[in-house]
Assembly symmetry: C2
Homo-oligomer: 366 residues x 2
């Protein structure tokens, strides 16, 4: 896979789709990546399979509250410092940068990081979507330590966290982020090539780009949403996908609590039927219910898109009266194991129901 | 100066006096020091003047809420880890350990640290008393960075903080400490020998021991408080000291807010006169007023002691009906400069009055 500056818009749009309503606004992430690429050149994108088992691979991400992140952009020096301090702490130099999260801003930050550091970017991440907390990563599910984790703020002040478990790292990083104005850079989960290959969600940069390209091409031909779905169906694991509902937001409850955007919305059918559709979110969309019946649930992907353009709508940007389609997409198998569901399944978000795969909940799914 | 196990009780009592009501209960710190000394031997105590200018000197302290600290004792491994990680981060091995705070528990923790690490202990600290926050240290006043600072909890989880200013370090360390149950070890202000010599408050371990010995000897002869005051008067800078009031606590307001013990008490004269005495505290005693007139104010030392035994009473241990004497003692000159008062003078604690030295407020003082 080869990325160009011209790809970044499509990649950001695809990443916004995979962000399932969260992940922050990729527009600012794209600016960051564009600036870094203009100055340092586009990084080479490599598949995880190109990594040596013992290669050191570092992640780079923004960390904080999406509502604050959209108002601030990393300077780039904060990215460099987070990687440099992590290298000093673990005593190894990274040979590549990988996204920890493909959804939203954090699809773009690693591009900037890899460009600035002159390192290749791995086409693979730790969730194949977006999630709100540090422990909600496949690498954690399968035993990789989230720490040392280096958090850096805009003033280049640094907090380095070393814990025995990823949830503790989340708590400590979150506490630091609050002091840092809820907008900082983090480099965590220092990985080996072997770990990336074994536990990563593969090809997610390529797929995000593919989704964005399909949408744009589809829009030109009159149906961006159909085009995205057709593209997803031929991918390796996002292959189950469907439009769950087509409607208009008639009720919206949303609050910012503990740095999270939490709430739900009701969507009424546009065809005048009595169909009721309900969407709950915590940064990301968590569960969709159609006439009271669950039709998709985390970690499967639930994305609200503009029903005309097919562009993803973040949960912060949902508005009363908005006309949207809600699309569900199957998560990667590595995200659906019992170990994985214990970390980021429905119960991890306070939902009192078990995970059921999208394709089981919807017999009519492609 | 040579310390023995037998000295530790006197040293703890003297340190409790210098803690001016805060600093945590030195009893548990003493247990920690006793255990470390029993296992590793008593560290050599050296004056700051024995340090080479380029020697690396590390501090070791407990950090958190006094009310929690008294319920937990450091394992010792947390102390070792805080020092080891700091050495790794700064890339230098310490040649000595210094107390950052002589008041309370933190007079004892450095003894344990020095014993465990086989290093000498410097007879000098960064305030000559106790203070609640990381930036309230002479080293900060005179331009030494508080960071890198290493915070370690009982599970040996670690947060390393690197900031441009000490108040930011305080905020980040406090946020970490909250996540760590408000009881952790910290090693901060990595110092050079030159900095210790230039900016430290000298001989404070010796003086704490001297205060404790004077009290014990005085008690045997019938007047522990007089004996302490006589001892203090012949020291280099605690030489202005007096009993401000002798009375009984008739009103006590105290709450734990943001990890601090905050409040005030009213003390009535035992002689039946209408004299009113008022004491305000935030962990440490901040200001004493006699019939409405300020008679001592931070950073000068204000200590409530049991009127019979002369033992210091922490602000957490103040009780309605308690018979106490309130003693004020002059702070070291290095603590009374305009730069120092900007960091830990009355205004830094929200008091709306200027610092006036004890010996100016009290014309009758010895």
């Amino acid at each position: 896979m080869k990325l160009t500056q011209e790809n970044l818009k499509d990649l950001a749009d695809g990443a916004a789709f995979l962000a399932t309503g969260g992940g922050g606004d990729p527009y600012l992430g794209r600016l960051l990546a564009q600036h870094a690429v203009a100055e340092f050149g586009m990084p080479e994108v490599i598949p995880a399979s190109a990594l040596g088992d013992d290669d050191a691979v570092f992640t780079s991400a923004m960390f904080g509250a999406p509502t604050v992140l959209v108002e601030k952009v990393a300077s780039g020096e904060d990215i460099d410092l987070s990687i440099r301090r992590l290298a000093e702490v673990v005593g190894r130099q990274p040979v590549a940068i990988a996204p920890i999260e493909i959804g939203g801003i954090n699809s773009m930050v690693p591009i900037a990081a890899a460009a600035r550091l002159g390192l290749p970017l791995v086409d693979c991440d730790g969730m194949g979507r977006a999630f709100p907390e540090i422990q909600m990563v496949t690498f954690n599910v399968y035993g990789v330590s989230a720490t040392p984790a280096v958090v850096v703020d805009e003033h280049l002040e640094t907090v380095i966290i070393e814990t025995h478990d990823a949830k503790r790292a989340e708590n400590l990083a979150r506490a630091a982020a609050v002091q840092m104005g809820l907008s900082c850079m983090i480099s965590c989960y220092p990985l080996t090539g072997r770990q990336v290959k074994d536990f990563g969600v593969h090809d997610t940069l390529s797929i995000a780009l593919g989704i964005g390209e399909a949408r744009r091409e589809g829009a030109r031909q009159g149906d961006p949403i159909d085009a995205m779905l057709a593209y997803l169906r031929q991918t390796r694991y996002y292959n189950h996908t469907k439009v769950l509902f087509d409607g208009k937001i008639t009720d919206l409850r949303r609050e910012t609590k503990g740095g999270y955007t939490i709430g739900h919305c009701e969507i009424a059918a546009l065809d005048g039927s009595d169909d009721a559709f309900h969407l709950e979110f915590q940064n990301e969309n968590l569960v969709a219910r159609h006439n009271g019946r669950t039709v998709a649930i985390v970690p499967d992907l639930i994305t609200a898109v503009d029903r005309e353009t097919g562009l993803a709508i973040t949960t912060e940007a949902l508005k009363y009266g908005q006309r949207i389609k809600v699309i569900a997409t199957s998560a990667a198998p590595v995200m659906r194991t019992p170990e994985a569901l214990a970390i980021f399944g429905p119960n991890a978000f306070g939902l009192d129901e078990a995970f059921v795969p999208l394709e089981v909940l919807n017999k009519d799914i492609a």
